[in-house]
């Protein structure tokens, strides 16, 4: 079928009243968690995942995807009005957004954030529709060695792009891989690391693990120093940016879309990184870089466009390859798997209505978000005033209910609490949880690909270097490892040399 036919068929799915409703709720909940600091899209998707089990697969994906891209809109509201990022992807928006609010220009800042988001997202969806099927076509030829290479590269890119020490992120990733072994072996069905616990036979639950590491950990960290919110309480009027604002932001929006889209597709390139990169690029291109940070509208338009473009671009590797580039996509992969569908080239062929239905729903969802975030902005501002001491017990309770609702097992609740505590300790020690979670999700795929490859090649590792795609991926993976570890070794040698000379 041609593109137009596919899009039409997609709209037939996404315009069904029930799917419209799910897109509406997804986008609404997304905006809500985007607005609220202290609860992010990853934790929320984990929370809602069990709920989506009762929906048809397309609706579940429409709903959960809506939460993800919806949160990109909401985050900017808090950044601009409170100077606290509602979402990691809106950190840079604080810089100029809050300054604009202080100068009485909160309205145009919010308006530009919402409209820039809309433009970035919709352009990015066009890219998604064009590129994902092409990529899936190429990926149809992929075998086990190619998938092994891709997964390695994906995890390594994420490790490399994570905040903080590469070494610590690598340790995180290996820990996630080890956790993914828990349960029955894929090939032989032998129990691994189950310690005789019946509940562990199916492996650690995705939902409790995620909600622990993202939901509970976030709450625990916020309890240390409760967020003090001073909502910038100027009456919001005139949400429409002026003609001059548009002229100033024109380049920022276009470049933001490009940067965001590209970084979104890249494994490990998150919406947050996209927003930082777009802001930096704007500062570079600007004729008055010194004015950034004092409340220039480009400083709002660039990151907000970029994070939405990235959020949509991130669906490409998920849909086309079945490899999630970030944690939120990893959760969507989990949702697919729980529905018995494996995203990737086969899904595009066998269940085209899922891909096209979900993609077209993103148009609809983004249009709804424009309404949520412009005329209804006052509603979110009011919600922002709910104090954290009331909010966090609710977040914890929803997490408990979410963990319970998967298979009604208090064991899952305990697992969630345990991982909440582990996540808190990891955060204190400055370990990133993201590589752990991505490695956990991709672990079974990695193991299957590795073992199959070795069976095909009769135990020879050359299979990974004679097949070009696998070789390129693994070569890049090794290059990243070496580029990061060599400086550490060199620093170590210097210290030893210094000690030997009695320095």
């Amino acid at each position: 079928m041609d593109l137009a036919g596919n899009v039409l068929a997609g709209f037939q799915v996404s315009l069904q009243p029930i799917n419209l409703l799910y897109a509406f709720f997804g986008a609404g909940i997304g905006t809500l968690v985007g607005v609220l600091p202290g609860i992010g899209p990853a934790g929320t998707i984990a929370l809602l995942l069990p709920l989506s089990l009762g929906m048809p697969p397309v609706s579940a994906i429409i709903f959960l995807a809506g939460v993800y891209y919806g949160s990109m809109y909401g985050g900017s509201t808090t950044s601009i009005l409170v100077n606290i990022p509602g979402e990691a992807a809106s950190v840079v928006t604080c810089l100029d957004g809050y300054q604009m609010a202080r100068q009485g220009r909160a309205g145009p800042a919010l308006g530009m954030a919402a409209m820039g988001s809309f433009i970035g997202a919709t352009l990015s969806i066009v890219g998604l529709m064009l590129i994902a099927p092409l990529l899936a076509g190429v990926a149809r030829e992929f075998g086990a060695p190619e998938y092994f290479g891709l997964v390695c590269l994906g995890v390594m890119m994420l490790v490399y792009l994570s905040r903080g020490s590469v070494l610590k992120s690598l340790i995180s990733a290996v820990a996630g891989l080890i956790l993914s072994f828990i349960g029955q072996d894929l090939f032989t069905g032998d129990d691994r690391f189950t310690f005789g616990v019946v509940e562990l036979k199916d492996g650690l639950g995705l939902v409790p693990l995620f909600m622990g590491l993202f939901g509970i950990t976030e709450v625990l960290a916020n309890l240390e120093a409760p967020i003090r919110r001073q909502v910038y309480d100027a009456r919001l009027k005139n949400l429409f940016p002026t003609a001059k604002d548009w002229l100033d932001s024109r380049g920022a929006i276009l470049r933001g879309t490009g940067i965001g889209f590209f970084l979104g597709i890249l494994p490990g390139g998150s919406a947050m990184i996209a927003s930082f990169a777009a802001y930096a690029a704007e500062k570079m291109f600007s004729r008055h870089p010194e004015r950034f940070g004092t409340g220039v509208i480009e400083g709002v338009a660039a990151p907000e466009t970029a994070n939405n473009a990235a959020a949509q671009g991130a669906f490409i590797p998920l849909f086309a390859l079945g490899i999630p580039p970030n944690v939120a996509m990893a959760l969507l992969l989990g949702a697919f798997v729980l529905h018995g569908i494996r995203p990737g080239p086969l899904m595009m062929e066998q269940h085209p209505q899922i891909f096209w239905g979900a993609v077209t729903s993103m148009y609809i969802g983004n249009a709804m978000l424009l309404v949520f975030n412009l005329p209804l902005i006052g509603l979110w501002v009011r919600i922002l005033k709910v104090p954290y001491k009331m909010l966090f017990p609710l977040i914890l309770l929803f997490s408990v209910i979410g963990a319970l609702s998967v298979r009604y097992s208090p064991f899952d609740v305990v697992v969630m609490i345990l991982f909440g505590a582990i996540g808190y300790v990891l955060r204190k020690m400055e370990f990133e949880a993201t590589p752990l979670v991505l490695a956990f999700i991709l672990g079974p795929m990695l193991e299957q690909a590795l073992r199959q490859s070795l069976i095909i090649s009769h135990g020879s590792f050359t299979i990974f270097f004679t097949r070009p795609i696998a070789a390129v991926c693994l070569g890049l993976t090794l290059a990243i490892v070496i580029a990061n570890l060599v400086p550490l070794l060199r620093a170590g040698r210097k210290v030893i040399a210094a000690q030997e000379t009695g320095d």
């Binding site: 070494l167 090939f187 966090f392 914890l396 609740v413 204190k428």
Partner: protein, 153 residues
Amino acid sequence: MKRWDQRASVIGVVLGILVVAAALRMELGAWNSPGPGFLPAGAGILLVILSVAYGLNARWTTDPERARQPSPWIIEHWRRVVSVLVALLLYALLLDTLGYLIATFLLMVVLLRVLEPAGWPMTLLAATLIAGATYVVFGKWLMVQFPRGILGV
């Protein structure tokens, strides 16, 4: 912080060795037919190597700022954290016996008093409302199976 990094690296090494030990008791298989213990053994070894590197790197750090950074464990901070974790654990353990409504009510009372508590009447009212509302929304509308407990509802 430097000292804590070194301690964490020791934990990493120990965990890695435990993983390898557990993997060795599974079937390793051969290169041309890897068994269940194959990748766990590899991952365990990798964890040991990386943890050693992490520990040495922390020891050798020449970054004065990093070395001076205070310990991240401040008692005032984690007192609240531990009390919330304990409350949640108790909740998970008592949920079956007490039932959703009572257990949730008690959990909410505790949690609502962790940060700058409002007065008791307000706390009790809020806890009752939250327990009741979530019971209706999740238990009745969204059909999440909640334990009935001693109330039998």
